[in-house]
Symmetry: C2
Subunit: 421 residues, 2 copies
């Protein structure tokens, strides 16, 4: 697992990173559409809830998926289509219903979505991925979805408005759309990696996260694309937590349509490979950060850095124990620099730890040094935790392994927001 | 780990179980005292915060302690004294300060408490245990504690009022004292196991919990006492969660003073051994239940039963994932029978699980059967989750292992209560 906070790409190149861009339609050759189908059946006919993304050119693809043993039907479909190897032409994604815990019927519905899109666009069903997000355990209203899909096929286009609408239609409890466009020039030619994501609750991804869709105009062989995506996801989407709950639907997909006429793969020049990997990583990083920053009813984003761990696994254990502790998260909400709760969570994380060696810092202000409290600095920590964004560092002084987790506070509003759906 | 819900003692005997009893002073030969020392230094001179329990007869003892790698000074002291083997004469316990993350100074303070009690009562320092609970990372106000201890030595006694005061003085965020007395007659003679406990937040014990103190008038060899206590703790205190946070101070102690003149040990008649084990187990069970029921700002207690798991470890993983999921706990608070969140948590627990085999029930009402939702019964689940106490059962149908976890909901008030200390 790479260390996110020590990016493997030390400013080698001036990437142009545009957050809140049009997203996927910034990649030449990709079209998008979004329609309102009232999938939630809440008489809300204006709420966009169905996205179609289409590439006229055939694409290679890569994906990472939830490791939850309970996988939603669309996740199973994506994994099956990906294994068949393509070529791929796009995906359909809906919000308002997760199509999870829906048994054989759910799988039939997911397949039907791919088949209908394929039939309308003269492609094979396996050329399409399907993603769903929303409430678990309810059947999809297929009549509404299939009608919506017909409209989406008609309305698709490549303008920024099309891209932005597509990013909006997959949102659930998110308060804003999450898009990014990363581009760079190589050998006189501009290349792009762009995409969009959703996610605000049920966020502690592992092997993948929520829904995120990326595209590039490179031509990229399947295995190289998968390797590049997996590394980027491991260091970005997998290093965030809002509530410690890993979803049944987490999916990250990337499509490469080769529109630029340039290939990138294992045999490309080292510089080009690094540029492409950095662009994918950066796109994932921006989207992952947007997901945490838009976490359900949060008021703070806290970077939990663990240094000096005996192993990478230990570093991650400590970071996750802290980032998911109800008591730690509640005290962050209260702007109470209750470092004792951090020490407690580190202690029960299961990581090797010697209290008398451990440091705890708020930004650069020590609260504990080699196991000794630093009460004289209390007024300074209190200042740090008032910020909307700050860093807590746990240095175990036992080895060289490190981990960075982007976490949030826990608010009374989160609990009330999630009392019922 | 024994299954709590299939107690190893199937009503073999009529134990007399009295919750909300006087507690430890119900055991002949034990004296108690509690004084107000304003340990929190909040100008609160009436708040009881220092307990002394004393046995004139020498006792054997057993204990279980937090497995948190960050252990409070008094936990380290208890472990050391226990290892030295006794004889023991009692313990001192304070609330208002955990004496955790306090370095060498903290250990010196804990030792001083034992020394002072020993000197006043003409015993050795190693005859006393010391326990602390409260905020982490602050030095103990030793002047106040030592003065309080002097008064406690003078005021100790064996009336029910002494026992009840002792149980009150260890409380922190608890709303009520937690006591129990279990007795039975064997061979014409009455025997007693009684004690008290505290705990409401930072509750997900492992190997021990919060503070709980038990005593018996049997004479019990050290190793038999430890075995009996460990089994009972494994099936009671270790099977509860309020917020998933394991404390630095969790301690369960039992003292056996032999006042009844009857011994129980490996060579005792089978019936007597079973009676004693059942009495210890029952005392722990009642106190553990009291701790969950008094969880910080909770409104509901939920029994999470996992059946049919491939292994005991898997059963426990599923129960803990569900019992500690923020989304599950929030929906319980909202009386929303959101069983999809239970399936999601079971799925990410790491346990072996096949969705198409899994059942989920609210009390006896199925929400999912063999992976298939049962939407027709929705109105019935809704009734179940309105209760203050109910059971959710996850049957994995993969094996014979089972686990029972007693969990709580999560409320907006919990978050606000823990925003600052």
């Amino acid at each position: 697992m790479p260390d996110w906070f020590e990016t493997p790409f030390p400013n080698m190149t001036p990437l142009i990173v545009i957050p809140d861009s049009a997203g996927i339609t910034d990649v030449p050759g990709f079209e998008a559409a979004a329609v309102a189908s009232d999938i939630r059946q809440k008489n809300d006919p204006k709420r966009l809830d169905l996205t179609l993304v289409y590439s006229l050119r055939p694409c290679t693809a890569a994906g990472t998926f939830t490791i939850n043993a309970v996988k939603a039907a669309p996740v199973l479909l994506c994994q099956k289509h990906l294994a068949e190897g393509g070529p791929f032409h796009g995906f359909i994604a809906n919000s308002g219903n997760a199509n999870a815990c829906t048994g054989a019927e759910g799988l039939r519905d997911a397949n039907l979505m791919a088949q209908r899109a394929a039939a309308s666009l003269n492609q094979k069903p396996t050329a399409f991925f399907v993603c769903s997000t929303g409430r678990i355990g309810q059947p999809l209203p297929m009549d509404r979805i299939l009608k919506g899909l017909e409209r989406a096929v008609t309305e698709k286009g490549r303008t920024p408005a099309h891209g932005q609408k597509a990013a909006n239609a997959i949102l659930t409890s998110d308060t804003k759309a999450k898009t990014v466009t990363v581009s760079f020039v190589y050998d006189g030619k501009k290349h792009t990696v762009a995409g969009f994501a959703k996610g605000a609750g049920m966020i502690q991804p592992n092997m993948a996260t929520m829904l995120a869709f990326l595209a590039t105009d490179f031509s990229v062989p399947r295995s190289f694309l998968q390797k590049t995506l997996s590394e980027a996801v491991g260091g970005t989407f997998n290093c965030i937590t809002v509530d410690g709950d890993m979803s049944t639907n987490d999916t990250v997909l990337i499509l490469a349509n080769g529109h630029s006429g340039v290939s990138v793969g294992d045999k490309s020049p080292r510089e080009l490979r690094a540029l492409f990997a950095e662009a994918v990583w950066k796109a994932c990083e921006v989207l992952a950060d947007k997901i945490v920053s838009d976490g359900e009813k949060i008021t703070k984003v806290i970077e939990v850095k663990v240094l000096g761990a005996a192993s990478a696994e230990d570093a991650q254990k400590v970071a996750r124990a802290i980032g998911n502790s109800l008591l730690v998260k509640s005290s962050w909400f209260g702007e109470d620099p209750n470092w004792g709760r951090l020490a407690d969570a580190a202690g029960y994380s299961g990581a090797k730890l010697i209290e008398a060696k451990m440091d705890i810092r708020y930004n650069d202000v020590p609260a504990m040094v080699a196991g000794k409290p630093q009460p004289d600095l209390k007024s300074k920590w209190k200042e740090v935790v008032k910020n909307r964004r700050f860093t807590v560092t746990i240095d175990l002084h036992l080895g060289k392994a490190a981990y960075r987790l982007l976490a949030t506070d826990l608010t009374d509003s989160y609990v009330n927001f999630n009392k019922s759906e």
